[in-house]
């Protein structure tokens, strides 16, 4: 039975016990911190690997979905990890309880730590301290908690292993895909105009695109562009599709960055075909106005998918590569239209005021689509400062709508008319009083004329 202790020696003994408990607490907290760090590493690595693999292997829409899901899962795992780490932290009482359990000390350390905290003392306090001290070899921190490295060390290792396996696989898959595309080589494609779905390009998306078609088809293309722009302006599903397009383009650009693709894209020549035979070139609008356009056909998108990179951006059109056999007017305006299409179907033929050809109104769209009126389609900065709108500005005049009805119809149902109160405002002291206009004398020569007028 341990003897009673008193005075300073008892305090020293207590310090020894509390020191060991503090050491154990530090050890436990370090392990908890390691646990959090390891799991954070694992989450970060796994998320990055999934993003990279998704960027390489998936289409932009798939990548978008996978990316969002991965981001949410990563955030959730992050929160769980932080919460887990917070719960694993130890205070002195918890460390003492752990030591009691593992060393079979039957609550001695817990009692000491909590009694010190709460300040309750008993005549048996010294006995308790002495008793606990006699077991100090049993609660040495390294014996209570032997681990120096948290058990969750496997998490970052597993994540690294996953990265080691998945990233080279994805890269090799990407390389194979590129090699296959390079063997294919042909960057030209022929698209039927009806299958062509126009959507706005991202700002700064300077893709290279050359559109080749006969003049009638080019005219129809401009018409189609005008209609698409009008639909987008009216908001016929334009908000959602615009949002979707933006998201897809964003995913595409992120994918390109993750893949490390160069900005120099393959030049694309888009050959437009028109299945509608018998089109009158002089009246290209007529029969085509009611033709159905197949929206959403990915294969017929104006910005043609790069055979190597899905939906890759393309370099701008090189004017020197235009088709020499294109009609001048169509070539000129088609150039404008093609360029506008290349810049994202912004219908901004009006950007160049010098374009005043016969089809200029088509290339530029209707007046209502000129300049800023249609810039919202693609939000292309190049198109933001187009020719000013010819529509009346709000400062040039105004109209006031007045609700009125004939008196003959009575005032029933019209409610009580508002009668303004009579207000007598004092005149300005400098104001001249109203004078009756003196009747002017009629010149004799004019009297006859005046009388004739009144006789009529």
């Amino acid at each position: 039975m341990p003897p009673s202790v008193h005075g300073p020696r008892a305090q020293e003994k207590l310090d020894v016990i509390l020191g060991q408990v503090t050491g154990l607490r530090s050890r436990l907290n370090w392990l908890a911190a390691q646990h959090v760090i390891y799991l954070l590493f694992a989450i970060g690595i796994t998320t990055a690997v999934v993003f990279f693999a998704g960027a390489v292997l998936l289409t932009p829409m798939q990548f978008l979905v996978v990316g969002i899901v991965t981001a949410i899962a990563g955030l959730y795992a992050l929160v769980l990890t932080l919460r887990s780490g917070w719960r694993r932290r130890s205070n002195a009482a918890r460390a003492a309880a752990l030591a009691d359990d593992r060393a079979g000390l039957k609550g001695r350390l817990t009692t000491i730590v909590q009694t010190v905290s709460f300040g309750r003392r008993s005549v048996l306090w010294s006995y308790l301290v002495e008793d606990a001290l006699s077991h100090r070899e049993e609660f040495v921190p390294r014996q209570i908690e032997r681990r120096r490295i948290a058990r969750s060390w496997w998490a970052p290792v597993a994540a690294m292993a996953l990265a080691t396996v998945l990233i080279p696989l994805a890269r090799s898959h990407h390389k194979l895909k590129m090699a296959a595309a390079a063997q294919g080589g042909d960057s030209d494609m022929t698209v039927d105009l009806d299958d062509l779905h126009l959507r706005p390009a991202e700002p700064g998306d300077k893709t290279g695109l050359q559109v080749r078609a006969d003049s009638a088809t080019m005219a129809r293309l401009r018409e189609k562009m005008a209609r698409e722009g009008e639909a987008a302006t009216r908001g016929d599903g334009g908000k959602f599709s615009g949002l979707l397009n933006r998201a897809r383009n964003l995913a595409d650009s992120v994918q390109s960055k993750l893949r490390g693709d160069s900005n120099q894209k393959q030049r694309l020549t888009l050959k437009l075909a028109d299945n509608d035979a018998g089109l009158d070139p002089s009246n290209p609008r007529g029969p085509d106005l009611n033709r159905n356009t197949r929206h959403g056909d990915q294969a017929g998108q104006f910005k043609r998918d790069n055979p190597v990179d899905d939906e890759a951006t393309l370099p701008p059109i090189d004017d020197s590569l235009r088709e020499p056999d294109a009609e001048p007017s169509a070539g000129e305006n088609g150039d404008a239209a093609a360029e506008s299409g290349a810049r994202g179907s912004t219908l901004n033929g009006a950007n160049d005021p010098s374009h005043n050809g016969p089809d200029d109104d088509v290339a530029r769209g209707d007046q209502s689509y000129n300049g800023g009126a249609v810039h919202g389609i693609g939000a292309d900065p190049d198109s933001l400062f187009g020719e000013a709108s010819k529509s009346r500005m709000s400062t040039e005049g105004f109209e006031i709508a007045i609700e009125a009805r004939p008196v003959d119809q009575g005032i029933k149902g019209a409610g009580q008319a508002y009668l303004p109160p009579k207000v007598h405002t004092p005149l300005n002291t400098h104001q001249e009083p109203d004078e009756p206009i003196a009747r002017a004398a009629v010149p004799p020569d004019d009297r006859t004329t005046i009388e004739r007028v009144f006789e009529r």
Binding site: K106, R108, T110, S122, V123
Partner: protein, 348 residues
Amino acid sequence: MTQTQTALEMPTVGDFARTFRRIQSEIHKAIIGHEQAVEQLLSALFAGGHVLIEGVPGTGKTTLVKTLGLALNLSFNRIQFTVDLMPADITGTRVIVAGEDGRREFSFQPGPAFCHILLGDEINRATPKTQSALLEAMAELQVTVSGTTYPLRPPYFVMATLNPIEMEGTYPLPEAQLDRFLFKVRLAYPEEDNLVRIITSTTGAEEAKIAPVFHADEAPERVEALKKLVREVIAAPAMEQYAARIVRATQPDHSRYVGDSVKSLHDEMVNKYVMFGSSPRGAQALVLGAKVRALLDGRANIAREDVEAVAVSALAHRIMLNYAAHSDGIEAAQIVERVLKSVRAARS
């Protein structure tokens, strides 16, 4: 414990354990088996509580109590509770006595309650009125007769016995009185080996001689000093919380007396079979019993093991079971075991 130790000197932890074991060994000279019951009985004594002993006839209930009185060398009285027993038969009454000058006057004649160890044999045979006469003595260590309060000398230890198989003409103890017993000790039917030893020791010519552990003149003070030491055992707040959690977990979820309840601790069995759980006195009994066990283990602090060890004897008789429990043959001890299990699970 040495004979030279004065009554005012605080015994040490070792003194307590040695004294306790010595009393135990003296009791076991007369009582064969029932080790756990004897330990619980002594634990209740040093924790300052009272004990309700339940057992079938012939299991040594009365012998146990008598032996305890002899071992402690404390005054001992026995009351056989019957239907016609009156409260005054327990507490005492005022009688007319003739004084030295020949004048007659009322004088208080103390009843059998005035002793250190009181055995209430078959307490459930007395009417509730008579049973309640013990309430004041047990709880407040005093007796009030005709408006005059008479204190009882500590230590005061009441042991009541119950016969569980003969229930005709009995009055089950009211809950308030049951709650005043620190422990309920069950004396089981002896095993064959023990029964043989009982036959041998009780049918021979030689009777077991119980040597008192204390001198008669210092026994009360010595017992009180040991009781005081029990109170000095340190209970960490975590242990008190553990005891409180156990007691609260004995209350069913639907109890309208409990208020906010820790639903996660409630066992389905408690909700199904318990009408009303343990009172706060149950928590006090848990901690006091745990303190005695800690001292016996040579510790100055209580542990969860101590609390759990006394849980059944401290809580079982405080739990009121409903009709479903009686019909399904569920006992309160089973409920306590389930509660301990659920509280342990919630802790881990």
